[in-house]
Symmetry: C2
Subunit: 343 residues, 2 copies
Amino acid sequence: MSGKRITMKQVAERAGVSRTTVSFVLNNTPNVNISPETRERILDAARELHYARDFAATSLATGRAHTIAFIIRQPPEELSVDAFMGGLLNGVSQAVNHAGYHVLFYAMGLNASKGAYAELIRSQRVDGLLISGPLVEDSELLDLDAEGVPLVIQGTPDVGDLPSVDVDNIASARMATEHLIQLGHRRIGMITNGPLTYTSSRDRLTGYIQALEAAGLPIDEGLIQSGEFSDDSGVQAMNRLLELPHRPTAAFVASDVVALGAIRTIREHGLRIPGDISIVGFDDIPLAQYLEPGLTTVRLPRVELGLHAGKMLMDLVEGKPVPERHLRLNTSLIIRGSAALFE
Amino acid sequence: MSGKRITMKQVAERAGVSRTTVSFVLNNTPNVNISPETRERILDAARELHYARDFAATSLATGRAHTIAFIIRQPPEELSVDAFMGGLLNGVSQAVNHAGYHVLFYAMGLNASKGAYAELIRSQRVDGLLISGPLVEDSELLDLDAEGVPLVIQGTPDVGDLPSVDVDNIASARMATEHLIQLGHRRIGMITNGPLTYTSSRDRLTGYIQALEAAGLPIDEGLIQSGEFSDDSGVQAMNRLLELPHRPTAAFVASDVVALGAIRTIREHGLRIPGDISIVGFDDIPLAQYLEPGLTTVRLPRVELGLHAGKMLMDLVEGKPVPERHLRLNTSLIIRGSAALFE
DNA sequence: TTGAAAGCGCTAACAA
DNA sequence: TTGTTAGCGCTTTCAA
């Protein structure tokens, strides 16, 4: 309709009151007594004029942007392959929008320009930061946290004590391995999701080891192979496992994508799943249920992760107490057909 | 470090110049002659003070937010299942960030509050809108477009002539069907991706029909079944196809997810793919390559779709001419093992 | 119960 | 080549 901007001034004029009064009414400012009819008049005027509060002006005057940045640091290619980010973002945006905040999205990849986080904050563009991904020890974040900047990490940072949300990788991996043990397996291989420089890789390995130890089984270094996020890396790793003089009867592969490669390799060797080798994965990617047999795996609660991370950041931003600075969500084991009794 | 805001004023003081001069230097304002040493002095001061231009103030003064809204209207659950959104968002954010703009993300679902788009624009929060998803005929968008608001649709709107980016669904479906025809199939079923109220469903059906007609094959209504986005709907549809007195030797399923259900059904009937029935899908979801046999399908260029949509919106926002208001990207047929020669 | 006015940090027209 | 100044639209203290 009208091409010109509607400001509080126009609303005030139309309602025959001052700008202040309009501001009070529109903001529902407490401790101000405005006659109901004046209030009504103002509200009507605003509605009729299609008034929308100017974001920049409000932000400038209040010093709050009511916006947070969701920064994802996985390499861009991964975003297009996996549904992880979609679920996460879905949760984050639900939590954040619910609190009346907006979400700025950044796919920074691994080589973001130094100072990018700080600039977002210094320019008052956002009130807080939510960062997901394999961040190498990022001292910039430590500094910001020390300055009191609200931020939360989705993941398990390996240094400092930044607020973070993640699944309990150790317990989850233990659960997956225990499942295999309960099925009677005694010689269980492990393929990590990534290099051990990543906390999540180390933690999942730790869970595997804990399960074996608890069951009194020996830890065999040769049974532990390193994956590197891709299905190809799963092929390599499984090949090494199969070349072992005494090969395992089962394997815990700490990433479904890596497991895909492992499974392919097993088949190429003419072996059957779960007949010859049982497999338990990790992540529960959408495709896990469509494999033949379905992949038994640990479900990663993507949406919940985002929901909790978003909520935590909102609490931080609004100065509310945060119940748990290092939140670790439980996972569940989804039992399908890829792991069976060892006989 | 310092808890207080650094403004241009501080930078000016430190460099011993006026605020205007600082503004000119920092903005690289043309047609202004500033001595190199002054410029250097200012830049140094800004750097030393960790100056970051206040976003709200700039935005208020210039009337530009340098921000766009990426609004996704698919039901939230779908976001967590498919990698489509991740790829799209990846492309969008690349294009938009590259142009120096920021992306606000909104998962609005299907029941967004009336007036949400307009409010984003009226409040000057964003300079443009990028909307993805099955939007029912949304008159609000038509109004905004008429007002001159920069916006682009990712998809194929069924009314008006809003700027949009999508794949060429008709040509893609034709290509998929032709592939089957070339393999010697004469009785080819079709399962749509969704109800025919969706433009994309209609277009893919049209492509199928065009291919048959071009090959002089009859159009058999019974061979056309309706899918509804889910794999379950694929089960139903394929069941109907298999119950036909004279069942097809091949089927074009206009959605990989729906094809998943169709494939399962075929197997449950004891039939083999591609031995008894050939299948060609649409979308190339990540899992397509992992099926046994791999799913022959039409690849949907997710990232490129986002890239082009983002670029088009940037052009619109900056008042540049838009080469093609209704951009239709080509797709490619990914040949794997699910479709074979009819013998 | 309502109004006046200062100020948030920046841009840009105008002066000098 | 650099400085002055008037807004941009809103919040909020202080008065009336």
